[in-house]
Amino acid sequence: MNFSPQLEEKFAKMLTAYPEGRKRSAVVPMLIYAQDEVGAVTPELIDEVARRCEVPPLQVDEVVGYYSMLHRKPMGKYHVQVCTNISCLLVGGMELYEHACKKLGIGHKEVTADGQISLEEVECMGACSWAPAVEINYDFHHHVTPEKLDQLIDGLRKAQ
């Protein structure tokens, strides 16, 4: 499996960043960057990362199963992640998530029919001080209210 020259360069550097014999440390970053480029963690991608990091494919598979930010199926162009862990939950995280479900007409890890927006109920993102928090792709949004979420989603629709 080949990636873009930029990504290949990144991976080459990544594999030298860890101590001798610890290539497996590169599994998580490699998966995340590759997922952005490929669109999802496909079985071929798992085998490729396993080969590059010199671990059995099963160990890469375990990592994919463990981290919720790694997806086996492609998510939307905009991936909306709503936290419902304790801090966010206490200040309306669950209501926010349910609001998003209604607004988008999709559920957890589902994608809108046009493939543009996907939704995920995620665990703590480390933004408790600004709860409830929402992350869209790699951008954080703090103190989100249902109204603010509407605006954010509408903004995404316009941006298409």
């Binding site: 059995p56 494919p57 099963l58 160990q59 598979d61 375990e62 199963g65 463990y66």
Partner: protein
């Protein structure tokens, strides 16, 4: 002893090695700290929370399995707080664990069941619906019932670390975490079943044992596996004269709990429908059942007549029969029949090996040495396929003691993963490969050299000379294939003093009698003598048995008492587990023929013959208490000068899933063949 610390556990003053784990220190002092995920010899997991203990001056309960002991530590392992924590942990573990103990295979020997009995989390506050996942079959021998799993990771670790296979993993997290096989929905692995044995609950179950019986309904017979030469002790669970399972959960024997697919599952040949259960006499092109009395009479008459007229005997012994049987057979040949033509399928050059070691003390490595030596050199063998226990020992040595492993082989082997250096050589180039490691090996503290059948004759002498020249203590293992290959050689099933080899016997045109005891020399060969009277003792109608005039149904190793000698020269005792109707042990068969011929070859009881072996066979003066109590007694072939022998030496080239002519009669071994492992396959 290294630096020590003083601590108190439950009011008991204890001195322990600094840095030792609390759970181990407690265990060594007779205090049990219960745990599911902690397992001696495997990496630490700290996943189950069962080993929580109270340490004074520490605010929270501590995890005993990862806590190193410290000076002045005061620990309570049975306080009310601890007991209630354990009860809570159990209640937690039981939230999704089904309460199907009455039908679960593990019921009665389940660690979770034991703990719930002890700490009594009989009532649950959990009212939600339990997560249920259907049972999965991963291979002919491995089934997985996810809801029973308590995620202790023992199976994952034993497969990864113990076996070096890494076929199991954990997918997802939280309540939907699940053990997964490496091929998505099935396993591609050694099929050893270690994961099943090590499972503290009934999540992983055995294809051949599941739903068959309850543990307390069986008697447990500790005997030695009859397949490869490693001499693993397998404890057979027997009910109603039927072997239900094989495992070694009591860690008895040299192998601890290790067993491969053959030791754990391949006992099923015992009840194969084609098992011979009556003596058979050739009538034209077919066989007719005859009585034992008639069979002995016919054989005795012919043997006596051929002996009287000075005819030619050829006798081929077995790699699987006991030392007693082999000893009796060669005595029968040499004293009873007056022939030197006795041999067996030799699978390693033990003759030259013993000769090369003449006068050396302590040059034979035991299976235990592979775990304690500083370095292991594997020459011309795929240990993981051919000698799985020796491979396991070297791997454990690498994990626990950072031993240096070297491999000189024809292709990739599992040892490469641990090896300091792997050298690839073509067949015949092994010694060159070994030479290239000289400087590295010289720097080792001590070394065990394990070599396959590619090294023979002068090659063995050169290898031993190489070992001598390193200037460090070197021990050796000359690999031989089967459960008593070593014993067959030691007992004298060899064509010394001008006797004929197997090949010479088969090639001779004037053989009057060919007597084959538990071997299949005609598998890929033909018998040149047209008029030879052929007697075969075997379990099955093998290619050789089909050419016989009389076939006698023999008992397998699981159906007899006696001793066998493993590849490392360690003598261990067999214990009869079952009886197959119609069969007799080879010793009884030979004794009966001798009696019929009116020969006086001594009493043919295993213990009596073993007594004679101890007195007369070089190196077999082993301590009886060791052997009698199920231990392994190393033999010492001092000055074992053996003259050069005629005949070929060749390993049968078995893999993990084959066992000579025997494997075709094991349903399990035929069901699981999937791993190629063909590096040295023939």
């Amino acid at each position: 002893m290294a630096e020590t610390v003083n601590l108190t556990i439950n009011g008991q003053a204890i001195q322990a090695e600094k840095g030792a784990l609390l759970i181990e220190v407690a265990r060594q002092n007779g205090i049990e700290i219960p745990a599911f995920c902690y397992y001696e010899g495997l990496t630490l997991q700290a996943a189950c929370r069962m080993c929580l203990v109270e340490v004074e001056k520490t605010p929270k309960l501590q995890v005993g399995c990862t806590l190193p002991v410290a000076d002045g530590m005061v620990v309570h392992t049975e306080s009310d707080t601890v007991r209630s924590a354990r009860k809570g942990t159990l209640e937690f573990l039981l939230t999704n664990h089904p309460l199907d103990c009455p039908v679960c295979d593990k019921g009665g020997e389940c660690e979770l069941q034991d703990m719930v009995f002890r700490y009594g989390a009989g009532e649950s506050r959990f009212t939600e619906r339990k997560v249920h996942v259907d049972e999965q079959q991963w291979s002919p021998v491995v089934y997985f019932d996810a809801p029973r799993c308590i995620l202790c990771y023992r199976c994952v670790r034993v497969c990864n670390e113990g076996m070096g296979v890494g076929a199991l993993g954990v997918s997802n997290r939280g309540v939907i975490s699940e053990i997964v096989p490496n091929r998505h929905d099935y396993l591609e692995c050694d099929e050893c079943g270690a994961c099943i044995d090590i499972c503290p609950v009934g999540a992983l179950t055995s294809g051949s044992y599941r739903y068959q019986t309850r543990p307390w309904e069986m008697t447990h017979v500790g005997t030695i596996c009859t397949h490869c030469g490693d001499g693993c002790r397998t404890t057979l669970g027997v009910r109603d004269d039927k072997i239900m399972r094989g495992n070694n959960r009591d860690h008895s024997g040299i192998n601890g709990e290790f067993l491969c697919v053959k030791g754990r599952y391949a006992f099923d040949f015992v009840e194969h429908p084609e098992r011979l259960q009556s003596p058979m006499l050739r009538v034209g092109d077919t066989f007719e059942p005859i009585s034992w009395a008639k069979a002995f009479e016919t054989i005795a008459e012919t043997f006596t007549a051929v002996k009287a007229r000075g005819g030619k005997f050829g006798i081929i012994g077995s790699n699987h029969t006991t030392n007693e049987e082999n000893f009796f057979l060669q005595k029968f040949a040499r004293q009873g029949l007056g022939t030197k033509n006795i041999d067996h399928h030799r699978t390693g050059d033990l003759g030259t090996f013993f000769d090369a070691l003449s006068g050396k003390v302590d040059a034979l490595a035991t299976a235990g040495d592979l775990y304690t030596t500083k370095a292991v050199l594997v020459v011309g063998a795929d240990l993981a396929q051919q000698h799985p226990f020796l491979s396991y020992q070297a791997r454990a040595n690498f994990r626990h003691h950072a031993a240096h492993i070297y491999a000189v082989t024809a292709g990739p082997v599992r040892e490469d993963h641990q090896a300091v250096a792997s050298v690839r050589v073509a067949a015949g180039g092994e010694l060159g490969g070994v030479e290239s490691l000289r400087d590295k090996l010289k720097a080792e503290g001590d070394l065990v050299i394990v070599f396959g059948d590619g090294i023979q004759g002068e090659g063995v002498r050169k290898l031993v000379a190489f070992g001598d020249s390193l200037g460090i203590p070197v021990k050796y293992v000359c690999l031989v294939d089967y459960s008593n290959s070593r014993g067959a050689f030691d007992m004298g099933l060899i064509p010394r003093d001008g006797g004929m080899s197997v090949q010479q016997m088969l090639g001779a045109k004037d053989l009057d009698v060919l007597w084959v005891v538990g071997a299949n020399p005609l598998k890929n060969a033909t018998l040149a003598s047209p008029n030879a009277f052929v007697v075969v003792q075997d379990l099955f109608m093998t290619e050789t048995a089909r050419t016989a005039d009389i076939v006698l149904p023999a008992a397998s190793a699981y159906e007899k008492n006696g001793t066998v000698t493993n590849v490392c020269g360690e003598v261990q005792k067999l214990k009869q587990a079952v009886k197959v109707m119609g069969t007799k042990t080879d010793l009884e068969i030979m004794g009966s023929i001798a009696k019929e011929m009116k020969l006086n070859l001594g009493i043919w009881l295993p213990d009596k013959v073993f007594g004679e072996i101890r007195k007369t066979v070089q190196g077999y003066d082993v301590p009886l208490p060791v052997v009698d109590t199920g231990g392994a007694a190393p033999t010492m072939p001092l000055n074992g000068r053996v003259p050069a022998l005629p005949g070929a030496i060749q390993s049968a080239g078995d893999t993990l899933f084959t066992s000579g002519s025997m494997s075709r009669y094991s349903k399990i071994l035929n069901a699981v063949i999937e791993s190629p492992g063909g590096l040295y396959r023939r």
